[in-house]
Amino acid sequence: MSTPAITTQGLTKTYASAFGRKKIEALRGIDIEVAQGEIVGILGPNGAGKTTLLKILLGIVSPTSGSATLMGRPIGEVEARRKLGYLPENHRFPPYLTARQTLDIYGRLSHLSADYRAKHIPLLVEQAGLASWIDVRVGKFSKGMMQRLGLAQALLNDPDILVLDEPTDGVDPVGRREIRDRLRNLKARGKTILINSHLLTEIELICDRVAIMNFGQIVRSGSVSEISTEGTGWRIQCRNLPNALDLSSYNAKREDLNTVPVPVPVPVPEKEIDTGQVSQDEVNLDPNVEKVIILDSGLTETLNALIDYLRANGINILSVERHRRSLEAGFLDIIDQQKAKS
């Protein structure tokens, strides 16, 4: 079994104000393990402790207690950071440097040789889509361009572990897709990536696993699919479902029509439209109209009872599957549960 890329044991961090009168517990016993080659997303509301966790791993903030390792080395060791790439949130490159000079200086700080820098800097700048800007001062760059340059900087030393704080912040949709593709390529090359982002759709598209933080603790972790389906009910796709059919006793509801595939339009006789005598139920009874029922309960007994009820009413059931929420909905549910508990 290979060494985990990142481990933390009982990591805590308490910030104290001047003279220690006021204390803020930013981290309260974090235990995580990230395997090599994994892409893990750290999620949480503002002030949950995400950035503090990343900064402790990078040696920027020292933990109050606990320990952590990067590729088996304690985080305090300089060597632990040799094969590490980091893109901070709101990074500020000196505006008077050109893209080439910026990467050259950060390459030197990462102990890279002159030959390596001369060969790889133009390549990375090109991959970032900034080839024609390589000798332009970064003070003239837009936010998205700075972010691309920041990612190039993080990749300069061909890191084994990549820590990204809001990597797609300020980047346009095309740029975001490019960044996603690059991260997937890096994963294919066995790189470990830790991402902190507020854009949950991005996390959903890239990450293998997410850890949700709140009040300085990891309150849930698992795969994106686990978080999306956890505690949810069932999704039943059917035909011939009249609006009048009462589903309330099963705590089931019809899904918002916007989320259902658009049904094939049914030609309605002009005469009937003119008279206004066609009811919505009659339209829905058309065998081509598909409807979706969401059952909140995850119990199979309730599901079977509902299926029996639908079949007894002549409803044609097309499919039954676990209801999958967006990661954002799952995340919000978990955070709301936490709030309710606290």
């Binding site: 920027i60 500020r92 030197r108 700080l109």
Partner: protein
């Protein structure tokens, strides 16, 4: 054994590379601030003036004629005639002229150069510690001490280069004009760099602790002002009460003696024996302690 040596060499090379990155960052920032170019321009002007705008006639070791931009004047001084005991006007000696010019240039470089240099480098440490920049620098594989040393070396080497350019240029120009080569004048260069370094320790350390480079500059200028008061210790101690005198003495020994160091240079230039090196050494000690505190805080603080 050979493998171990090779590995140690590679490690040293890598560390040098990292240090050079930190140094280069500081140099580029100073260059971008136009600070170096400005001082180089002023220095060039100073020694071009001395070289081309000033003409000297030296007769028997004294200045017989001095022309500045074609305007003639004879620098003279009042001396006591040994035979008659009366004060008479006499042409100034070349030695004294050289000492005068050198003292003026050193004084200007020392006071103006340090005050302006501190003002100009103040944003440098502020920018270095800025969020989004310092965290990225710290995440690189080098110790915090080495990172800070790279920054500090960058600043001090720039000051050394600028002081050398000015003083060496002036020294060469005066020496060619007068035919007198006093290498002692070049001692001004290390003195300027050392005392700038002492005062920069306050800028660096206070900014690290408080994250306010403005506060750091105010405190540094305050210390320079206090050092002017401390320089008058011979006169002031006579009129102070015993308790005030004690406080004054504590201040004198604790704080840098920035102004008093000028006297050391004056004595060196005029060929006199230096009455006391204490102001210089106590200032160096002050700077070392403040740097120590700054490094200690930089190593342990969260960014």
């Amino acid at each position: 054994m050979k493998e171990t040596d090779k590995s140690a060499d590679l490690s040293r090379l890598a560390m040098k590379r990292a240090l050079s990155g930190s140094l280069l960052l500081t140099f580029r920032e100073l260059w971008a601030m136009r600070l170096t170019q400005g001082i180089v321009a002023v220095s060039t002007l100073a020694w071009l003036l001395l070289s081309f705008a000033m003409n000297l006639d030296v007769v028997e070791g004294s200045i017989s004629a001095l022309k500045i931009f074609g305007v003639a004047s004879v620098p003279d001084e009042m001396v006591k005639d040994v035979a008659t005991g009366e004060w008479v006007r006499q042409a100034i000696s070349v030695d004294k002229f050289v000492i005068g010019i050198s003292s003026f240039v050193f004084g200007a470089a020392y006071f103006l150069g340090t005050l302006l240099g501190l003002f100009a480098t103040m944003p440098l440490i502020g920018g270095f510690l800025e969020q989004g920049r310092i965290d990225l620098l710290i995440s690189k594989p080098l110790t915090r001490s080495r990172l800070l040393t790279g920054h500090l070396l960058g600043v001090l080497l720039t000051v050394l280069a600028l002081a050398t350019y000015l003083i060496l240029g002036v020294w060469v120009a005066i020496s060619i004009k007068t035919g007198l080569w006093h290498p002692i004048m070049l001692l001004s260069i290390p003195l300027i760099v050392i005392m700038f370094g002492v005062m920069y320790s306050v800028i660096l350390s206070v900014t690290i602790v408080s994250r306010s480079s403005g506060l750091a500059l105010i405190l540094t200028y305050g210390l320079i002002f206090i050092s002017a008061i401390l320089a008058a210790h011979d006169q002031l101690e006579k009129v102070l009460s015993p308790s005030a005198k004690l406080i004054y003495r504590i201040f004198y020994h604790v704080f840098p003696n920035f102004v008093e160091v000028v006297m050391i240079q004056s004595q060196l230039l005029s060929g006199e024996a230096v009455s006391s090196w204490y102001p210089l050494f106590s200032s160096i000690l002050f700077g070392s302690v403040i740097y120590g505190l700054g490094y200690f805080w930089f190593n342990r603080r969260d960014f």
